[in-house]
């Protein structure tokens, strides 16, 4: 009787669409609950832990210390060294992957022979367990055992040298994830209309001109998504370093640093501060991609057709 004022807005929501809403929420609820329970809550808890002095060896001495842990981490050379290594590995491996992945995508797109076989073998690095691949590389570069170490001058132990070890970590990362990049780029290539490329060819554009002026601009969204995915993924590098060098000789990434502080030093407070800092770095990278490069968030256009 008193709801007359609401009728103009309320009337739009029919019984059917109310049912649709309810079903939508109902269907999403379990996924949302699980995701919140295991990510949102722990991230909040990590922030809380990072403000405490909390050493698992002396749990009774736990107390609230505000930003002391952050000050300790940010003023430590270990953090900056690890961050530098991580940024270096991320930047170099993603750059190589983009070039190599594009080449691989062009081969897969254009090849006239055994297209299926090529695509299948490119998927092998994607499927293989990272730790397994890392061991394969480790044994290959171990002097006396490996076929690759045998190619080096006698007496060299590449995994114990800072720069060589970083190079090998990048190599392992590139080998493992270039196929993923290549497949995303291949999907982008498939979106480039054949007629446009042919028209450019008729107009006398050479291979490089067609690639640079026609194909790449049309592929931009796919390239940005692939770069975003791979950059965020490379920033979390852990498995390869753990197996190849264990983080010795200053080859540890931020993830290795966080792991060591937590499980070797058993310092939950410092470990959590590192966790939160890594999270902030990743968020910053994502923000840069979305804002500066205008990468479309995958799944962003969620409206039904």
């Amino acid at each position: 009787m008193t709801v007359t004022a609401e009728i103009p807005t309320r009337a739009k929501i029919s019984e059917g669409s109310r049912q649709e809403r309810r079903l939508g929420w109902l269907l999403c609820a379990p996924a949302v609950l699980v995701m919140t329970a295991v990510t949102a809550y722990p991230i909040g808890y990590a922030v809380y832990l990072s403000l405490q002095r909390y050493d698992l060896r002396f749990p009774q001495r736990a107390r609230f210390v505000w930003f002391d842990n952050y000050a300790a981490v940010l003023s430590s050379s270990y953090w900056w060294q690890a961050l530098w290594v991580t940024v270096l590995i991320t930047a170099v491996s993603v750059t190589i992957e983009l070039v190599l992945g594009l080449a691989l995508a062009l081969v897969m797109h254009r090849t006239i022979l055994w297209r299926g076989a090529v695509r299948t073998s490119v998927l092998v690095p994607y499927g293989i367990v990272t730790v397994v691949a890392a061991y394969s590389w480790q044994y290959a570069w171990t002097p006396g055992t490996g076929y690759l170490a045998g190619l080096l001058p006698p007496g060299s132990a590449p995994l114990t040298d800072h720069w060589q070890a970083i190079g090998l970590i990048i190599l392992a990362e590139v080998w493992k994830t270039t196929p993923f990049m290549a497949l995303l780029l291949l999907a982008g290539l498939a979106l480039v209309p054949e007629e446009t490329v042919r028209a450019a060819q008729v107009d006398g554009a050479g291979f490089w001109q067609r690639l640079r002026l026609v194909v790449l601009p049309l592929m931009k969204p796919a390239i940005l998504v692939a770069l975003l995915f791979r950059t965020l993924d490379a920033f979390r590098v852990f498995d390869d370093i753990y197996v190849l060098t264990g983080g010795s000789n200053n080859t540890g990434s931020v993830s290795i640093l966080g792991y060591d502080n937590l499980f070797t030093a058993l310092n939950l407070g410092i470990g959590s501060a590192i966790s939160v800092l890594i999270f902030l770095c990743v968020a910053a990278i994502a923000l840069v991609f979305v804002k500066v490069f205008g990468a479309a968030a995958p799944g962003g256009e969620g409206d039904r057709r």
């Binding site: 929420w25 996924a31 081969v107 299948t120 367990v129 394969s136 939160v276």
Partner: protein
Amino acid sequence: MKPATRTRARWTAVNLVVVLYALFPVWWIAALSFKDPSTLTDGNFVPRRWTLENYRGIFRTTEFTRALLNSVGIALIATTVAVVLGTMAAYAVARLRFPGKRLLIGMSLLIAMFPPISLVSPLFDIERALSLFDTWPGLIIPYMTFSLPLAIYTLSAFFREIPWDLEKAARVDGATPWQAFRLVIAPLAAPGVFTTGILVFIFCWNDFLFAISLTSTRAARTVPAAIAFFTGSSQFQQPTGSIAAAAMVITVPIVVFVLLFQRRIVAGLTAGAVKG
């Protein structure tokens, strides 16, 4: 005819390079796993004396067989649950209009980008408090969380391809939304669901960080973590042969999977990313 032969030869060479690139580290670890202990360190790319001793060795200990059981069980359960929950959410995202949808998409995008190390320290503490540490659920729950966004993206991309008019027809014939979903759409969506299942399974099978952080004994330690903690049969022996053999055991099923379903895996990997 002549230029055609030359093109053929060139493509053969290029393809050969690609195939070799993809396979040689795999071949190397396979070769190691078949080497006799005395020739293990000879650096040869092909074993000089072939043996199955390394495989017999790892299957003699419960350390490895238990880890294999953990890997299979944990990955299968996490995949099943993630795919079921992901299917429900993806259907809603692709099909229904409801407020909060954008928030859901944004949230799962955020989770897909989460660095796992950021969750390890709080999860370690929370799981110890809930006595989930070093148990199957202690790994299953984080795995399904991280695979849910993946499942929601790929599935909603697949779901957008489905001819929804069939569902409308079913609704006109008097089916409820749930019936329409179950009887009409679910069978059409099955291939996409299956593909997503493969991707999620590979993801769970691959994980190393959670596996070494949230387990401490053989109760829940999966193969990737177990490999890293392998010790030789004596302290003077390197576990190289055992690691290589165990590595092959967890690699072969995935590679077979990939070979069998390569078309679908490519579709799944690219659907979510490119079609948006």
